[in-house]
């Protein structure tokens, strides 16, 4: 028999009231932890997907939309820019290199990205089997695409026009899968990647071939070779720019925005802005979690006070049997802590389980229940402090109780 076992027996002796305290405390903790996990996970994902991209240049419009559409592939592009404008821009000495992107088609909900091989390198995506796409209507598919659609090497994909299903298709001009990528944990997993020329081909501009200039030019910084005709007539959606020097971060956006059709979007700046917007919601849910924790602390407090009232004779008799004030104090404190410790473990378990479930049920959200964040220690520490405070007043009351007065009445 120890003080701890006495406390534990007292907690068990009131299963319903203990359960209520544990549940409330657990839910409060789990809300805060799941918010913490989700936002850390998203920040992680975003910085992973935006790594190595200094600036995105797209058609005039919302810079946030450009970022969402061309980096994260979750919004629609602002429009197209002409290849010529893009090429003229990349001649600027502030730009080290650039990757062109042509978006707009999809296959059964998965987006088709026309680009260069450098795009695949940017995300360090490796081939699982097959080879990278070439010029002529060949694609590599991300790991998720291959899994979810059950497609593999040699299959033909007839792309849909637009980014959602059923918006008309390009059945007469199907792509052929020549490669499947390994899972990389980045957006590439959910994309179908092809050459930029193939996208142009699908949209069929080459009927007017004759009389046109078919001599080829190399657009060095963009890393593509096109015909003069294509340079003059084709459009792309955006380019990812890599700066040559830090000074470009100051000058280049201004130059781009000064060009009538172009809009510069800085990934760090826009994602920070996005987090500010989401942040309000996160804040609200966090406050909700804190409120639930405080409510549950009050419930622990009330449970302890009530049980003190019921047990005041028992406690006085324990004193009369030789228990010191300190022992009674510690016993009550431990009772409160048992409830809050179990409650917070329950909360952490629930949060991680829920987070893992989210990973299973939501596509493009590759979360694992074993994803831990350092700040969880803070949540645990904070919940312990709340638990100590909730138990402190009852413990002090028990400490100060006048046993003679209590026993004289009963």
């Amino acid at each position: 028999m120890t003080v701890f076992s006495l406390s534990a027996k007292n907690v068990i002796a009131k299963p319903l009231s203990s359960l209520l305290s544990v549940l409330l405390f657990g839910f409060g903790v789990s809300i805060i932890v799941i918010i913490l996990l989700t936002s850390s996970f998203m920040k992680n994902e975003i910085s992973k997907n935006a790594a190595g991209i200094d600036l995105v240049v797209g058609a005039k419009g919302s810079p946030l939309q450009i970022i969402l559409a061309s980096i994260f592939h979750i919004d629609f592009p602002t429009g197209n820019i002409s290849l010529e404008d893009a090429n003229n821009l990349t001649r600027n000495r502030l730009i080290a290199s650039a990757i062109p992107l042509s978006l707009g088609d999809s296959y059964r909900g998965y987006r088709i990205v026309g680009t260069t091989k450098k795009y695949v390198e940017l995300y360090n995506a490796e081939l699982q089997k097959g080879e990278l796409f070439g010029m002529k209507m060949t694609v590599v598919v991300g790991a998720n695409v291959a899994n979810m659609l059950g497609v593999s090497l040699g299959d033909a994909l007839a792309s849909d026009h637009g980014l959602s299903e059923g918006a008309g298709d390009h059945a007469e001009n199907p792509y052929k899968i020549v490669g499947v990528l390994k899972p990389s944990g980045s957006v590439v997993d959910n994309l179908i990647i092809t050459s930029i020329q193939s996208v142009w081909e699908v949209h069929g501009h080459e009927e007017e071939h004759d009389e046109q200039d078919v001599s080829e030019v190399e657009l060095g910084k963009l890393g593509v070779i096109v015909t003069r005709e294509q340079l003059a007539e084709e459009d792309i959606t955006a380019i990812f720019v890599k700066y040559r020097s830090p000074i470009a971060a100051v000058q280049l956006p201004r130059i781009v925005n000064g060009t009538s059709n172009l809009q510069a979007a800085s990934p760090p700046y826009e994602t920070a802005r996005l987090f500010n917007i989401i942040g309000v919601g996160v804040e609200v849910v966090n406050i909700l979690g804190v409120v639930i924790i405080i409510l549950s602390a009050i419930s622990v407090f009330i449970a302890l006070i009530n049980s003190l009232k019921e047990r005041k004779y028992e406690l006085a008799i324990m004193r009369s049997m030789g228990a010191s004030r300190a022992k009674i104090f510690v016993m009550i404190l431990i009772e409160g802590l048992i409830l809050t410790v179990i409650g917070s473990f329950f909360g952490f378990g629930l949060a991680h389980f829920g987070f893992g479930m989210l990973g299973v049920s939501v596509e493009q959200f590759e979360a694992s229940a074993l994803f831990f964040v350092e700040d969880e220690y803070l949540v645990f520490g904070g919940s312990m402090i709340v638990g100590i405070f909730a138990s402190l007043i009852p413990a002090i009351l028990a400490y100060r109780a006048d046993i003679s007065e209590t026993l004289a009445k009963g």
Binding site: E314, M321, S324, S404, L407
Partner: protein, 208 residues
Amino acid sequence: MLTINSLVHLYGGNAKIQYPDWHVEKSHHSVILGSSGSGKTTLLHLLGGLLQPSQGEVSIAGTDISSMKSSALDRFRGANIGIVFQQPHLVSSLSVIENLMLSQYLGKGRINKEEATKMMDQLDIRELQSRKVHQISQGQAQRVSIARSLLNKPKLLLADEPTASLDDENCEKVIRLLKSQAELCDSTLIVATHDQRIKNELKDTLVL
């Protein structure tokens, strides 16, 4: 065994109660007799160290407990004084035997299950040992509380109105039980009561 000397207790307001000097020899089981409000429970609490006297001294087996510090008094009480209250007030989250072991743990800091079992045999409550407190009758609970207070073989066994609500037959039974158990444990029994029936059973009487 027990000596009280010019003992005075001041109540919260300005009421004051002065007790006559009294001395009880070892094994002279005694009774403190007084009507309600005469301060007999207060005296019992002073004797048991549950209350610090305002003036005067209480000495038990040669130790003056009136000037002891709170924690030292707790230890002394746990080891040397057993108290039977009017209501048993057993610890409800524990079983009968755990209640007995609690007394050992708090009083002496160690648990001896054998002694606890022996004490239950002595009081004829062995078969209740694993029952929860709410599963036994009031009379059985009183026996458990007597067993609990005697388990550490206290020098002094105090009982507060143990017979208040009992009929003549049971009153006699309880008082005989207290006496015989106190003797078995080599304790000196002091009963505080307004119950005149007890007077004849015990040697010394202090009338308040």
